[in-house]
Structure formats: structure tokens, C-alpha cells
């Protein structure tokens, strides 16, 4: 579904990715792990054309999407859940949900999407007229995920969705993510929690210094290097 070939990318003079090859298949969950600064987020930003891609190619459903404008990429069915400030804090919950979808869909489809998201996350329905910054951390994450789902993606790019969530909320989030796959959404997830990521994903890529150094399924949990460096084995 998504194929990244020999991608070089960064920000201005700063070169972050140095020849990355990654693919995501239909209905597949793929995780990207690695140390800080390895370029995990930059992979996602390159797909979405908000970093400076210097060479390489990104194809989605056999179409070259390298250099397409962001809203064109969204129309093709890719949605991006960023990290950091994940909601429009001064807009209401309902406005936050609508704003992603009403750039690309007719009002009826937006309304229908709103109903689906409210059914999935009932907390959001009861708070639909509240400003987003009044929500708790977990609800913020739901809202951001809900907004991505409003765009009806077939591929969802997630940048550290569990960041800052309590273990209980993380567990719920990973259950939600597993549920999204059942609805036919493929996912590429950047995750700080390597163990959780590997367990959740069908395949995992380990990124170090802008290059993929390891790729595999759940069996890489047993890999010595992964164990030592990312799963706390050496402590």
C-alpha cells in the first residue's frame, strides 16, 4: 500500500534520513522504533511532505505521492496524527472534529463521520461544545484520533500516540488501534515504547541515525540488540 524507497530527507541544511526503505501493506500495522533523533518522526513528515525531501520516492497505492501538497495527500486517504500540540485548543471539540473532514468532504459526510466518532468515543459527544483545552490528556488523544478518523483514512500515520498517557490509557489506546485495523485501516506508528510497539505491530523497523538497521515481526523481541538497548535488558 505504502512504499518508501531510498528516502533522503531533513529540514533545510539538516539531513536526517539517509536512504530509508519502508513499506506498509494492506491492513497492516507497522511500527517504527529507535532512539531520539533517529528520524522516526521525519519518516512520517516526509510522507506528508512537511519536511524537505531531497531524494527518494514515496508511493501510495501505486501512485507517486512524493512532493504532493498536504491536502492532496489527505484526499488520497492518508491521515496524520502528530505529536505535541495535537488539538486546536481554542476551538470546541465539535469544531476540532469537523475541521479535518470539512476540507475534503460534503457536509452530509461530515455529519455522518461525526456520528461515527461520537459512537466510538462517547466522552467527546458529551463535551462537544467545550473548548478542547478543557479536556483531560486521554480525551485530548481521543479527540485527535477522532479528527484523523473523520478524514476516513485508509492509512493512518501516528507519531507517538501514547506519549504522556498513563499506563491504563495507553492500554486502552492500543486496544483502540487494534480495533481500527479491523475496520480496514493500515497504520504506521512511531512509538517510544518499543516493547508495546513490537507486540502491537505486524512488522517493526528499527531506525538508527537515519537508516533502517533492523526489520522484522514479533520475533525481534528476542533479538539481543533490541533486548539490550530498547527493552532495558542491560539495566
Amino acid at each position: 500500500m505504502l512504499v518508501i524507497e531510498d528516502l533522503y530527507s531533513g529540514y533545510g541544511e539538516l539531513k536526517v534520513l539517509k536512504g530509508v526503505n519502508i513499506s506498509v501493506g494492506k491492513n497492516e500495522i507497522v511500527a517504527l522504533i529507535g532512539p531520539n533523533g533517529a528520524g522516526k518522526s521525519t519518516v512520517i513528515k516526509s510522507i506528508f511532505n512537511i519536511s524537505d525531501v531531497s531524494s527518494g520516492k514515496v508511493t501510495f497505492r501505486d501512485q507517486d505521492i512524493t512532493g504532493l501538497r498536504t491536502h492532496e495527500i489527505i484526499k488520497l486517504g492518508i491521515s496524520y496524527l502528530n505529536q505535541g500540540k495535537i488539538n486546536f485548543s481554542n476551538l470546541t471539540v465539535k469544531e476540532n472534529l469537523m475541521i479535518g473532514a470539512d476540507q475534503i468532504f460534503e457536509p452530509e459526510l461530515v455529519e455522518e463521520g461525526l456520528e461515527r466518532v461520537y459512537n466510538k468515543f462517547p466522552d467527546l459527544r458529551s463535551k462537544e461544545n467545550e473548548l478542547a483545552y478543557t479536556l483531560s490528556g486521554g480525551q485530548q488523544q481521543m479527540l485527535a484520533l477522532g479528527r484523523s478518523l473523520m478524514q476516513r483514512p485508509v492509512l493512518l500515520l501516528m507519531d507517538e500516540p501514547s506519549l504522556g498517557l498513563s499506563p491504563k490509557l495507553q492500554k486502552e489506546l492500543f486496544e483502540t488501534i487494534a480495533g481500527l485495523r479491523e475496520e480496514g485501516i493500515s497504520m504506521l506508528i512511531v512509538e517510544q515504547n518499543a516493547k508495546k510497539a513490537i507486540e502491537l505491530a505486524d512488522r517493526t523497523y528499527l531506525l538508527e541515525d537515519g537508516k533502517v538497521v533492523l526489520e522484522g515481526g514479533k520475533e525481534i523481541l528476542e533479538n539481543e540488540a533490541i533486548k539490550n538497548v530498547y527493552l532495558g535488558g542491560r539495566y
Binding site: F88, Y133, T134, L135
Partner: protein
């Protein structure tokens, strides 16, 4: 007592002009994040447009007003498309855009000076009229019109920002630019409209200023500073805040000269600007980032 009431009314009238300038300015600032000081020249150019079309060429007044507002809006759009956007595409920082905006302001002030001379111009649409006195307060018909028109415009602007998709996109861009681009909002389109609407508001301000005061080529700088001060007082990133702040500025100036010599009007404004920048840079109603922004 009536002196106090009169000062309050005068403050509201002055404030409504400042607020028209400030609303446009803060709409542009909040969606583009740089100081568009050339906004002042949009106001002055509109004033001179009225002078040229109406006083010199004899165009009917209402036609003059419509043409002026449309041209002001397009003038703003042209500044964005022909100067700011090309600079941004070359990677110009916001400081460079600020310098460019001062350059535009100076350039067009001089163009107006060359075209119309540096002397003061009068529109002469409304004969100098004896004011209407009610309960000890004197107002001219024009001043009542200024108050009513600006209030109608502010209500329309608020409804537009709250209820339309474009208004929502503008608020989203001003709240979080990075996220706005991630959800697919076309920021150039949003900037186009913020310059169109903001400069259109400057056009309205220009018409009212031209009717209420005398025109001079350099008045844009002063109006811009007052509009900017009003915006800072209320919250430069938040359009309703900048409107409220401008009214407060108008009131403070007019109430201040009850106790200070009238030459201190500008000093009051600058003192307020200084104090707010120092102690409350987000302004009275300016919004900070939410607590739970992760």
C-alpha cells in the same frame, strides 16, 4: 457629570475607529504571524480614494464607498501576493517581513504625498454641523453613524469567524499553524482572505476617518500605532480582544485628558502600550495555550 459622559462618548467614537484598524490588523497578524505595519497605509489610501473619487471626481458618495472598500481589500491582497508571499517563499523571517511592511508604508506615504501634496485635505461631504445635544452630550450625526456602522461590522465579523467554515479555518490557523497544515487547511487561501477582509476593514476605517478628520499623507503611521496598541491591550492574537482593547484605548485617551493637558493623548496610548507589553503581553482577552496541550 456631563463632561464625564461626553468624554466617554468621545472615547467610544475614537475607539471605534481604532477598533476597525485593530480588528483588521489582528486578523492578519493572527493568521500570518508577522507585523503588517503597512496596514496603516490601507487606511490612508482609502481616505484619499474617497477624496479623489468623491471630492475631486464627483462620483456619488455611496458608489465611492463601495469602490473604496473593494479596492482596499484588493490592495491588501496585492501586498500579500506580490510582496509578503514571494518573500516567504524565499525563506524570509518574520523580521524581514516586518521591515518590508515598514518599507511599503513609507513608500506609499510618499506616493500619496507626490500625488496629492502634503497639505491637509477635506472631504466636505457633510457640512460642519451643529451637534445633536441629548442629556448634556453632544454628538454629530456623523459620529452616531460611525458608532453604528462599526458596531454592525464587528457583529458581522464575529458571526463570520464563528459560523463559517472559512472563519473556523482562520481561527484554527491562528491557534496552531502546524496542525492546521496537517489537517489539510490551505494556509495561503486563509492568508488571502485574511488580507482581503482585514484590508477591507481598513477601507471602512479610512472612509470614516476621512469624513471625521482631515486627511494627511502621514496619518497612517499614527493610526497604525493606535490600532496596534488597541490590539496589544486586548490581545493581538484574538480579534474580539483587539476590538475591546481599542475601545479601552479610546476611552483611556479621552478620560485621561480630563486630568491631563490634551497634548498628552499620545503619551497615554504609548504608556499603555509599554505597560501591557511589559506586564500583560497576551492582552486582556488574549488566549494562552491550553493547559492540556500535550
Amino acid at each position: 457629570m456631563s463632561l464625564l459622559a461626553q468624554s466617554i462618548i468621545n472615547g467610544l467614537i475614537t475607539g471605534s475607529i481604532y477598533a476597525l484598524v485593530a480588528a483588521g490588523y489582528s486578523l492578519i497578524y493572527s493568521t500570518n504571524n508577522f507585523m503588517h505595519f503597512a496596514h496603516g497605509i490601507s487606511v490612508v489610501a482609502a481616505g484619499y480614494m474617497v477624496y479623489w473619487l468623491f471630492t475631486l471626481a464627483g462620483t456619488p458618495f455611496y458608489v465611492t464607498c463601495i469602490i473604496t472598500v473593494i479596492l482596499s481589500a484588493l490592495f491588501g491582497l496585492a501586498m500579500y501576493r506580490l510582496i509578503y508571499l514571494p518573500l516567504q517563499r524565499k525563506g524570509a523571517s518574520n523580521v524581514i517581513l516586518l521591515i518590508a511592511s515598514i518599507g511599503i508604508l513609507t513608500f506609499f506615504q510618499n506616493v500619496i504625498q507626490i500625488a496629492f501634496g502634503s497639505g491637509v485635505k477635506l472631504i466636505g461631504y457633510i457640512e460642519v454641523a451643529k451637534g445633536i445635544t441629548f442629556a448634556g452630550i453632544t454628538m454629530t450625526l456623523l459620529q452616531i453613524v460611525i458608532l453604528v456602522i462599526s458596531f454592525i461590522i464587528f457583529i458581522m465579523l464575529y458571526q463570520f469567524m464563528q459560523r463559517t467554515k472559512l472563519g473556523r479555518n482562520m481561527r484554527a490557523v491562528s491557534n496552531n499553524k502546524e496542525l492546521a497544515s496537517i489537517v489539510g487547511i490551505n494556509h495561503i487561501r486563509v492568508s488571502d482572505f485574511s488580507f482581503l477582509i482585514g484590508s477591507g476593514l481598513a477601507g471602512v476605517a479610512g472612509i470614516l476617518v476621512a469624513l471625521e478628520q482631515n486627511l494627511s499623507p502621514l496619518m497612517g503611521t499614527n493610526l497604525m500605532i493606535k490600532g496596534f496598541t488597541g490590539a496589544v491591550i486586548g490581545g493581538i492574537n484574538y480579534v474580539p480582544g483587539s476590538i475591546v482593547g481599542s475601545f479601552l484605548l479610546g476611552l483611556a485617551e479621552n478620560l485621561g485628558i480630563l486630568v491631563l493637558p490634551s497634548g498628552y493623548k499620545d503619551a497615554i496610548a504609548f504608556s499603555m502600550l509599554f505597560l501591557f507589553l511589559l506586564f500583560k503581553p497576551n492582552g486582556i482577552l488574549g488566549k494562552k495555550e491550553g493547559r492540556f496541550d500535550k
